[in-house]
Symmetry: C2
Amino acid sequence: MATTPNPDRRNERARRAILDAALELCSTQTYAGLTMEGIAKSAGVGKQTIYRWWPSKAAILLEAITERADQSLDFPDTGDLLADLRGQMYELVRLFTDPMFGAYGRGLIVAAQTDPAISAALLDTLIRPRVQLCIERLAKAQQAGEIRADVDLAVVVELLYAPLYYRMLLHTAPVSSEQVDSVISLVMSGIRP
Amino acid sequence: MATTPNPDRRNERARRAILDAALELCSTQTYAGLTMEGIAKSAGVGKQTIYRWWPSKAAILLEAITERADQSLDFPDTGDLLADLRGQMYELVRLFTDPMFGAYGRGLIVAAQTDPAISAALLDTLIRPRVQLCIERLAKAQQAGEIRADVDLAVVVELLYAPLYYRMLLHTAPVSSEQVDSVISLVMSGIRP
DNA sequence: CTGTCAAGACACAACGTCTCGTCTTGTGTA
DNA sequence: TACACAAGACGAGACGTTGTGTCTTGACAG
């Protein structure tokens, strides 16, 4: 069909089966080993049903992940900036070192290198909202005088999180909570009044 | 042949043609569009000749890049730490924003996600030697009292360079010399005595 | 009764292996 | 030193395999 499909008549059972099969297969093997045919077979679904609703396997994964990641989007504010940052970043370390999430997190970033649509969706739904929340938390601290007024908070966020992505993607060393502590310690001493 | 090929009888002309064709094709199209058959055809070479000497297209690119990157491996030491860092990092920005290098740099990192051999080679030949040189330059500054004695220099290097990789791979914002300036400025104020 | 569904056939592209016949190269012999 | 020759690297491309994305079919649900 060249015409756009009708979402009202969509079979929810098939959608669920496809998303679940994609995550299931991705945790079993590598992202590279994930195929449309594999997903279709494992979900008990025709290939056309997949191609009707998703343009690529990366799009499937992105939807599956977004669905699960929507929860726990809030950045804590206990009044203790260090503790809040540490808690949030430890959580990210947990995700990055989780074999399942690690596999498809890397897979999505890989897909984003060649597929601009995936790149944009990844940024819009996962990365940027969380960066924004971190900036807002830092802004409160800045207003409270815990951070120098001239510091660009967007740069601080990059400084905090980039080393985690760096290690995850380049495999120079394992992502760890020790790394988080070192990074926070150095960055904090650079932005304190 | 199951036996290993004899390097002494290797045809240098074919090797050159393959490496050149790989770089050429990689700059023309995307890394994903790079195929063994394409390289073979473009180099005027049989596929077997490629498979005899390289296990994957990533291995070809790695060798081609290493060959060119060997030069200019030294980290400058003009006595001015800030200027030295800035110069070296501007150079990296230039590479990352170069369309050709950008394409196969990203390609190599992508390949490293699924191929441990590529990952190891990438680290050993390109990443770690340069990280080491940066650490050594920082160590001199530390001995000269420009950096606090308790600062872990390996973390500093990650803090400096990770944001560039972060932007290159996640496409949150363009890699730029302005970013370098912000990062250096924040990091320096965190490590000064 | 229109459109989605599961199933699978289809043409295409790239993979990695293989088999040719040709040409090159290192080595042993004179 | 000169040369002959076997080993093997070469270009070309056929081959079976796998995954791609599209199309067709008949069943069935909104």
